[in-house]
């Protein structure tokens, strides 16, 4: 008969701190180094450059203080680029918000093929901005008679329109806004869908018991207030993304000889200032710092105004 063995508690070797630290740095180190090297160092270097006359050099010697900042703020092209952003955000933020919310409500109500519709509306988000811009420019809104939009309008006897070159009326906004709307509405729809699915069904049941009519009344008094935090996040993201607009503007409107002064958003202007043939890296950096500060101030102001982080009970 075997004697029952008593398991002796094995003394676990205490994990050495140095081991843990080593593995931490092996896994995190490359990413931290990449982040520092490709994000923080250029960012700080850009701030440094903004105080120097840095034409065609990243290691300048001529200190100009705030000269680049004052020059940038007096530069009509830079201030007009901020105005372009303002117009763009006025178009794109409400349009994307409304379309994404509308799609989310529609998909959320769909009982059959919900996953299919969700995927279909989200799919454009996977498309490159460059590719979409080229399709819009060359196929749909080409200015000649065989462009899709002009062909359709031609059926009704309308003249061909140069969508991207006409400034009176400014048809180029239609092209710029629709391409971004198509690309990003699906992504924000997913955010709204997540928000909608977090709303407790009991609220709708209680509303029904209280006699609320389904449709607009329920949406106004139950759904929309319950989406408050999602809405705040969506608007914040939309405004920041609008500030960062580059790809579609650049690919729709630039050519080998440059870029038209209308519809030139801040990033496109800074790209030409710092990385164009002029290579004024001091001015470009000053512009980038100004733009970053504007985005930060607008975001903080907007967040406070919307009450981001405030408890629901408040």
């Amino acid at each position: 008969m075997r004697r029952p063995t008593t398991r002796r508690p094995t003394a676990r070797r205490p994990r050495r701190v140095s081991d843990t630290t080593l593995w931490f740095w092996i896994f995190v180190g490359p990413f931290a180094a990449g982040l520092a090297l490709f994000t923080y160092v250029p960012l700080l270097w850009s701030v440094y450059l903004s105080f120097f006359d840095a034409h065609n050099t990243v290691s300048p010697t001529d200190f100009v203080g705030f000269g680049n900042y004052t020059a940038m703020l007096r530069d009509g092209a830079f201030t007009s680029s901020l105005a372009t952003f303002a117009v763009f955000s006025l178009f794109i933020v409400p349009a994307t918000y409304a379309l994404a919310l509308g799609l989310a409500l529609m998909v959320n109500r769909t009982r059959r093929f919900q996953a299919f519709f969700r995927s279909v509306f989200f799919l454009p988000a996977a498309c490159s901005y460059v590719v979409a811009a080229l399709i819009w420019k060359l196929s749909i809104f080409s200015g000649v008679r065989f462009g899709l939009a002009n062909t359709v309008l031609g059926w009704f006897g309308a003249d061909q329109t140069a969508w991207l070159s006409t400034t009176h009326p400014p048809w180029y906004w239609l092209v710029i806004v629709t391409v971004r709307l198509w690309l990003q509405a699906g992504f924000y729809m997913i955010l709204f869908l997540a928000g909608l699915q977090r709303i407790s069904p009991r609220l709708y049941e209680a509303a029904a018991v209280d006699g609320a009519r389904p449709g607009w009344q329920v949406f106004r008094h139950i759904t929309f207030p319950q989406l408050r935090t999602t809405s705040i996040a969506v608007v914040l993201l939309l405004v920041i993304n609008a500030f960062q607009a580059f790809d579609e503007f650049y690919n729709l409107l630039s050519d080998a000889r440059g870029y038209p002064p209308y519809a030139r958003p801040p990033l496109v202007y800074l790209y030409y200032t710092a990385l164009g043939q002029g290579q004024n890296l001091g001015m470009g950096s000053a512009g980038a710092v100004i733009l970053a500060l504007i985005i930060a101030v607008v975001t903080v102001f907007q967040a406070r105004w919307f009450g981001l982080g405030r408890k629901e009970a408040d």
Partner: protein, 417 residues
């Protein structure tokens, strides 16, 4: 031996780290297996079929170094401008310049010595913008020029004569505009980008005067530029074409009766239209003016960041100074360009007849090159103003006042450097 999960992960992470720290920057280390120096030579992507194969063939024929040709699509000027700030840039490169800032910033090497004994054989009009402080900073490869193509049959059908003045051009464009055909194509931006200083030279003015001031501080400048708005307001301009002004597609496809384009497109136009086209300089405007034809030249330059500057200079001397057979082939076998060497241009049979001969005559008699002092900053400011004049109908007087002020400030800046 048993490999634990931890060992496996640790080894993988370490290998990943080593790989990440590797030196594969996309650029070679400067020497090849047979001991020869390797030079990186960048070109912008040409539209003409066969050009890329040709430059690779020239590079392969050089026996003193291995030359790695990079054929770069996209925004070439921006790519090279950014690459010149780093050690990962080219040794030798083609440049639409070099610009004054690149020269003053010490980004390009002095190539004056390569011109010993042959300087007078280079076309002085395009050599001048490559010269600064008495030194030459780029070797002109070929001369490119732009002019007006017109479709003879369409003009005849509309009863329009080839325009000799700017007013006649405006009237002709209007008369030639039909339901499906526009009168004139100056680029999808209405001409702001490509025309540049051409209308000013047609008005007898210039971008920069000999004493280094704005050359368009004159009422006739505003008058001439204002006429470009009439083209836009009359709806005579083709806008939004799939291919821009540098490509003759719109002209060949019958989307426009007249198009501003380059000599490089001439073989394609000839092949498509036979004899049904003619060429014209940009028409004069005003009593004392003369027709205007922009000429320019891409140049071959050496980066001062190159570790093999001497070898790169020797290679460029071989290719763009000594190998005249390659220069002739490059200029005339793929699209049409005027060789930068006067001796080659004179004997080029393809440029001695038909429309090509007319273009060479126009370029010789009326050609102007953009001055070196006309910096990219000024180019942008002027182009913006021109765009507002053409498309928005902005007051040419007010727009030009602002550009004149900016020009004089910028010229002061570059003179101080």
């Amino acid at each position: 031996m048993t490999i634990s999960r931890r060992t496996l992960l640790g080894t993988g992470a370490a290998l990943g780290l080593l790989t990440a720290c590797g030196s594969n920057t996309g650029r070679n280390n400067g020497s090849s297996a047979d001991g020869k120096i390797t030079l990186d030579h960048w070109y912008h992507q040409y539209g003409e079929t066969g050009t890329e194969a040709a430059v690779r063939r020239y590079a392969a024929a050089y026996d003193k170094a291995k030359v790695n040709v990079q054929w770069r699509p996209g925004n070439y000027d921006q790519q090279t401008a950014a690459a010149l700030l780093t050690d990962a840039g080219p040794d030798a490169f083609e440049v639409n310049g070099p610009t004054l800032d690149q020269i003053q910033g010490g980004q390009v090497a002095d190539l004056t010595a390569l011109f010993d004994g042959v300087k007078d054989d280079f076309n002085p009009a395009v050599l001048a913008p490559k010269t600064y402080g008495g030194k030459i900073w780029g070797i002109p490869q070929v001369i490119d020029t732009q002019f007006l193509y017109y479709r003879k049959s369409l003009l005849a059908a509309a009863g329009v004569q080839p325009p000799g003045t700017l007013d006649e051009l405006v009237d002709a464009a209007k008369a030639l505009t039909r339901d499906k055909v526009k009168g004139l194509f100056l680029g999808n931006d209405g001409g702001a980008g490509v025309l540049g200083g051409t209308p000013l030279y047609a008005a007898g003015l210039s971008l920069v005067t000999d004493d280094g001031r704005a050359g368009f501080d004159d009422p006739s400048a505003a008058r001439t530029l204002g006429k470009l708005h009439r083209l836009y307001a009359d709806k005579s301009l083709l806008l939004g074409a799939p291919a821009d002004w540098s490509d003759p597609s719109a002209f060949i496809q019958g989307l426009t009766a007249m198009q501003w384009s380059g000599l490089w497109a001439l073989p394609t136009v000839q092949k498509a239209l036979g004899a049904d086209f003619g060429v014209l300089p940009f028409p004069k405007d005003g009593p004392n003016a003369k027709p205007s034809v922009p000429v320019g030249a891409y140049a071959a330059a050496v980066s001062t960041r190159s570790k093999h500057q001497a070898e790169a200079k020797a290679y460029l001397k071989w290719l763009w100074v000594e190998r005249t057979d390659f220069q002739e082939d490059f200029a005339l076998s793929y699209g049409f360009h005027i060789p930068a060497r006067l001796s080659l241009a004179k004997k080029a049979a393809k440029l001695r007849e038909g429309a090509a001969a007319d273009v060479v005559t126009y370029a010789t008699e009326h050609g102007y090159a953009q001055p070196l002092l006309w910096t990219p900053t000024l180019q942008t400011a002027y182009q913006d103003a021109l765009s507002r004049i053409i498309k928005d109908g902005a007051s040419p007087d007010n727009e030009l006042k602002s550009v004149v002020r900016r020009t004089n400030d910028e010229l002061q800046r570059v003179k101080k450097r």
